[in-house]
């Protein structure tokens, strides 16, 4: 089965080509959707096959490389189109193809009747292909194709409603910010390649070769530079501070896109990348710290913004940013497996949440449309009490919300708790650990709060929809609800494959399968880490239990506050707003980060560009060119007056010239 790994990206590619080239002719939505969905579902099946085969092989042999064709060979630089199958990539392909298939299926219903239906599926398939390349690539360059490919698809899909200016803006912003990250990625790649090559004569960007050569890398120094650059790449792709602002805007895309790209898969690419190169990242304690701090900061920062948003998708978007922050916190504290674990669970529940919100929006849109209302179908202030009209959506949504809030028993709890615990206990950052944990915990509290705020505003309370539209509200069709149900289920139980050791021991020593599974991948990184950080300094069972309990309490506190504010005492939010207007405004406007960026980068760039063009290029550079021409022409105009037309003038010049020559040579 390993040998067939090439099928995994190929199938979506075929889907893309078929839909992209012939979709317009096919017209039949079922066929188009079917092709798209089957393509990715085929990949899913292959992935399953690989997973099964891998389970069957011994952990040491769970690495498989497959070269498809040589890509760029130039001198000592060699990058093949080649795939790497190892436990980490298997996890990723499972998530991508699995969640992807569901979202494809969902899209058939959601995108029904949209203009450019085929286009959507083509893009979606293209995205899946890119994402699969990203996770399967056996070298940095193939990863980079995927890396930029997903960026492209993200661009295309965000700009799906291209006639809306906001969509175009958002798409462009997403791509450009990703490009900033890609710039970092490239520089990181160059640094690594160059350093290893010129110092150790190992010219490679192949992950496995890098892994073998990683012991030659120093701790810190150049590795810090390289990894920081890579991390810049990760912040771009995974919407971390400072490059996070594109993700909320990316909600301009259709909701399945948000679910697939901006929640489940693409945005986690940064996390995956760090995981993939954990053995390098760990060699730079400074980078690890930066990652952890940025992750934590993003987690809390986005969470605060999420509390004040009214657009249902934007809340989820900030939630995503925040959750990604958690993942980075995990990576930064050396909890690689936990990070990946959270990545997976997050894919489940966040995809479910997005799809649920999509279902809601779908219904709202339908209803509002039929009521000829121009209310915003995504604004939670226009919703309320939807749980009756949309039970399945509601339940799945709720399950996912509970999962994300970190209520024990649901997937989010296991992963998030693991992260928080490791942030607290892992030895890499000394005293900072406590702070990181604290921030994470507060962010978790906020998460619970805004997620339940969302649920309460949307599904509970009074129905704020116009009465006329109300009657048109109904549950979404099966094609939409089936994915919801599957994802809801996964959100609920998906966490059990990664039971914390502590809990596993309660149930008779069930190991943390997930960590075990990824162990071969992260083993080396841990070893490197332990060379400079003492293990188990804080390890304390009681403490772990305590912290676990604490995080549950924190989640509950968040939920309670949300309950208080949005169910029990609905005036509270208003009061709160009027008490701290500045704070609310700031939070509501995302801390004015977009404005800050405009002020700091965008506007100066445009102004500078304008200056360079009109003030420098045209005036100075071209001015010199034209100036020279003008001077020559000017001289020409002046000199032509030497030809006065008078013979005696001419004779004078001749005589004077002769005398000058004679005088010069005779008397010099």
């Amino acid at each position: 089965m390993f040998d067939n790994v090439w099928l995994i990206p190929l199938l979506p590619l075929i889907g893309f080509l078929v839909n992209g080239l012939f979709g317009k002719k096919i017209k039949n939505e079922a066929v188009i959707g079917g092709i798209g969905t089957l393509a990715i579902f085929g990949s899913f099946l292959v992935s399953c096959g690989i997973l099964i085969q891998m389970i069957g092989t011994s952990p040491e042999h769970r690495v498989f490389e497959k070269v498809i064709f040589p890509w760029i060979h130039s001198g000592n630089f060699k990058a093949d189109m080649a795939f790497l199958v190892d436990p980490l990539s298997v996890v990723m392909i499972m998530v991508v193809t699995g969640v992807g298939s569901l979202i494809h299926l969902y899209s058939i219903g959601y995108m029904h009747g949209e203009e450019g239906f085929y286009r959507f599926f083509a893009y979606l398939n293209l995205f899946c292909m890119s994402m699969l390349l990203l996770v399967l690539g056996n070298n940095l360059l193939v990863m980079f194709i995927g890396w930029e490919g997903v960026g492209l698809c993200s661009y295309l899909l965000i700009g799906y409603y291209f006639h809306k200016k906001s969509a175009g803006d958002a798409a462009k912003k997403a791509f450009v910010m990703n490009r900033v990250g890609d710039f970092g990625f490239l520089v990181g790649l160059f640094t690594l390649y160059w350093w290893l090559g010129s110092n150790q004569n190992i010219w490679t960007i192949n992950f496995m070769e890098l892994k073998q050569a990683s012991h030659l890398l120093p701790y810190g120094g150049v590795v810090t530079v390289a990894t920081l650059c890579f991390f810049v790449g990760a912040t771009g792709k995974s919407a971390q501070i400072p490059l996070f602002t594109w993700l909320p805007d990316a909600m301009e895309g259709p909701t399945p896109v948000s679910a697939l790209i901006h929640a489940a898969t693409m945005v986690t690419a940064g996390v995956y990348m760090i995981g993939r190169m954990s053995f390098i990242f760990i060699k730079s304690p400074d980078t690890m710290m930066v990652i952890a701090v940025v992750g934590a900061a993003t987690a809390i920062f986005a969470a605060t913004i999420g509390t004040a948003q009214n657009d249902i998708k934007r809340v989820l978007a900030y939630s995503t940013v925040s959750q990604l922050g958690f993942m980075f916190l995990a990576m930064g504290t050396g909890a690689f497996a936990a990070g990946i674990f959270h990545l997976m669970t997050h894919a489940f529940f966040k995809a479910c949440l997005f799809l649920g919100s999509g279902s809601v929006i779908h219904a709202m849109h339908y209803a509002l449309h039929h009521a000829h209302s121009h209310d915003d179908a995504q604004d939670m202030r226009n919703m309320g009490g939807l749980r009756k009209a949309m039970p399945i959506t509601f339940i799945t949504f709720l399950v996912s919300t509970i999962a994300i809030a970190g209520i024990p028993g649901f997937s989010g709890f296991f992963s998030k708790d693991e992260i928080l615990w490791q942030a607290f206990s892992n030895p890499y950052h000394g005293g900072l650990n406590m702070i990181l944990w604290g921030i994470g915990a507060v962010a978790a509290c906020f998460t619970a709060f805004y997620m339940f705020r969302l649920v309460f505003m949307t599904f509970y309370g009074d129905c704020r929809i116009q009465p006329k539209a109300k009657s048109h509200l109904h549950e979404s069709p099966l094609v939409i609800t089936i994915p919801l149900m599957v994802l809801g289920f996964l959100a609920a139980v998906g966490g059990y494959i990664g039971l914390p050791k502590l809990i596993g021991e309660l149930f008779g020593g069930i190991p943390n399968y997930f960590e075990l599974w990824l162990d071969p991948v992260f083993e080396l990184a841990q070893e490197y880490g332990h060379t400079y950080a003492q293990v188990g300094g804080h390890h304390n069972v009681a403490l772990e239990w305590g912290l676990m309990g604490g995080s549950v309490v924190i989640a509950l506190v968040g939920i309670t506050i949300a309950f208080t504010m949005y169910i029990k005492n609905t005036e509270l939010p208003g009061k709160f707003t009027s008490t701290f207007p500045a704070l609310h405004r700031a939070v509501y406007n995302k801390w004015y980060i977009d404005e800050l960026y405009d002020f700091l980068f965008v506007n100066p760039c445009k102004a500078f560009g304008n200056f360079l063009w009109k003030g420098f290029d045209v005036l100075v550079v071209d001015g010199i060119v034209n100036g020279v021409a003008a001077v020559v022409k000017g001289w020409s105009g002046a000199f032509r007056y030497t030809a006065t037309g008078y013979v005696h003038n001419y004779a004078f010049v001749m005589a004077a010239g002769t005398m000058a020559i004679l005088g010069y040579y005779i008397f010099r």
Binding site: A629, V632, K633, W635, S636, G637, F639, R640, T642, A643, G645, V647, N649, Y650, A651, V653, M654, A655, A656, G657, T658, I661, L662, Y665, I666
Partner: protein, 480 residues
């Protein structure tokens, strides 16, 4: 006392003899030919030119008339240039002078006599022959410039040329006198020998001054700055075929005499005249090109351009090595083709009295007469020195000669000038091709003669531009 005739060697002046005889015969025949049929005189003179061409004894070194002349390849090469120049001029003359209403039969003998003068200049090995050849040429040219005597411009051109020419003759003669005084001879070989033998001659200021004064005299003839001032006025005013003739032939003759006299008679003063020529070359190129930039009258523009070209040729002369001098020869030959070709087109475009010789009058010529415009473009590109035309090869040799001798800056100034010159050549093409036509150009009538001229000129520009080997080799073999 016996009158001892020296070895005469008529072979040495064979082409001149042929041409003189034909010219004199034409003067007689002219009486018999009616006004409309003067073209026959042209054909006859062409025949004479062809005869002269075939009477050139190639490869021989014949000195005759007590070393007054030397028939060698150098003079043969230049003779070819003069004959071509005269022939092409005659081809474009008939139509023009008919249009202007002054197709007097004397035109052809005068052109032939001028050619004879040039030939003598090219083969002169005695200052006296140089002087007399130059005067035959000049006097004929004064007449030709003022040939269209009903036209004030032509009058003015003739008179101006005459006054300034006579003035410059004074300087040239004075120089010759001083050389004579310093060396006791007017034979260039003797002059060189004297200078080489005796340091007294070499150190005599008179010798140096004579050389310099002769240089100014020749500079006038080849229109080198600052002795170029007559050129634009005379070129503009003279009848166009004569302008074509003047810009190519006499310039070549001037260079022929200049080069031969200076290279053979004054090798000892080489540092001085080389330096002088350096300065003259720079001045000439720059003045010519700069002023040409702002000219509207195309004849005047080509006059300045011809000044500039004299400057380029002076670059080769400054170097006066094999590449440089053969470059001069090649360049002057091809310059004859391109310049007369260009003037042929100007003649075609010109109306009676030449009221429309401005660049602006060429607007849309390329649309109405694509073939003629193409030819004009070829000539102009060649003048600008752009491959694959002969103008480029010529310039290459000239500048390469300079580079070879280490005159890098001279070559650089030369090419920069060349780049600037592109502007005004392109300007003509801008009007021909890139402006919409305002006139129908229905007066443009192609006669077989002018067609032949243009055809020869195009061939003479393109063939040496693409396969310059034979011409270049000939030039190399013909070094003085």
């Amino acid at each position: 006392m016996e009158l001892a005739l020296p070895q005469l060697n008529f072979m040495a002046i064979m082409p001149e003899t042929v041409l003189s005889v034909v010219a004199m015969a034409l003067l007689l025949i002219n009486v018999l030919v009616k006004g409309e049929e003067k073209a026959y005189l042209g054909y006859l003179s062409l025949a004479g030119l062809v005869g002269a061409l075939f009477s050139i004894p190639w490869g021989a070194k014949i000195s005759g008339f007590s070393d007054m002349v030397l028939q060698d390849n150098f003079s043969a090469f230049f003779t070819v240039i003069f004959i071509l120049c005269a022939g092409l001029t005659i081809l474009i003359s008939d139509g023009y002078f008919k249009k202007e209403g002054c197709n007097h039969g004397e035109l052809y003998p005068l052109i032939l006599f001028a050619t004879v003068g040039m030939m003598f200049m090219a083969k002169a090995t005695d200052l006296m022959t140089v002087f007399l050849g130059l005067e035959v040429l000049s006097v004929a040219l004064y007449i030709l410039a003022g040939f269209n005597r009903a036209n004030t411009k032509s009058n003015e051109a003739g008179l101006k040329y005459f006054l300034l020419g006579a003035f410059s003759t004074g300087f040239l003669l004075y120089g010759m006198a001083l050389i004579y005084g310093a060396t006791g001879s007017t034979k260039i070989v003797k002059i060189a020998a004297m200078a080489a033998q005796s340091s007294a001659v070499m150190n005599n200021p008179m010798f140096l001054a004579g050389m310099l004064l002769m240089a100014t005299g020749f500079s006038f003839k080849i229109a080198a700055a600052p002795f170029h001032m007559w050129t634009p006025d005379v070129y503009e005013g003279a009848p166009t075929p004569i302008t074509a003739f003047m810009s190519a032939g006499p310039k070549a003759a001037g260079f022929a005499a200049f080069v031969r006299v200076f290279v053979i008679a004054f090798p000892t003063l080489m540092p001085q005249w080389s330096e002088l020529l350096w300065i003259l070359a720079v001045l000439t190129m720059t003045t010519g090109n700069i002023i040409a930039l702002s000219q509207d009258n195309i004849k005047r523009m080509l006059a300045y351009s011809s000044i500039a070209h004299a400057g380029y040729a002076l670059v080769g002369f400054t170097a006066h090595n094999a590449s440089g001098v053969s470059g001069i020869m090649f360049y002057l030959l091809t310059y004859t083709f391109m310049n007369i070709g260009a003037f042929a087109i100007i003649i075609l475009v010109g109306k009676k009295g030449e009221p429309n010789n401005n660049v602006q009058d060429y607007a849309g010529f390329g649309v109405k007469h694509p073939v003629l415009a193409l030819c004009m473009s070829i000539f102009l590109f060649s003048l600008a020195g752009i491959p694959p035309t002969a103008g480029f090869i010529g310039k290459f040799y000239l500048f390469a000669g300079a580079v070879q001798e280490g005159y890098i800056w001279l070559a650089i100034i030369g090419v920069l000038n060349s780049a600037a010159s592109v502007y005004y050549y392109l300007r003509v093409m801008v009007f021909m091709y890139m402006k919409s036509p305002e006139e129908e150009f229905d007066w443009v009538k192609l006669s077989p003669a002018i067609m032949l001229c243009i055809l020869i000129a195009v061939a003479g520009v393109l063939i040496p531009g693409i396969i310059p080997n034979s011409v270049l080799n000939l030039a190399t073999l013909s070094l003085p």
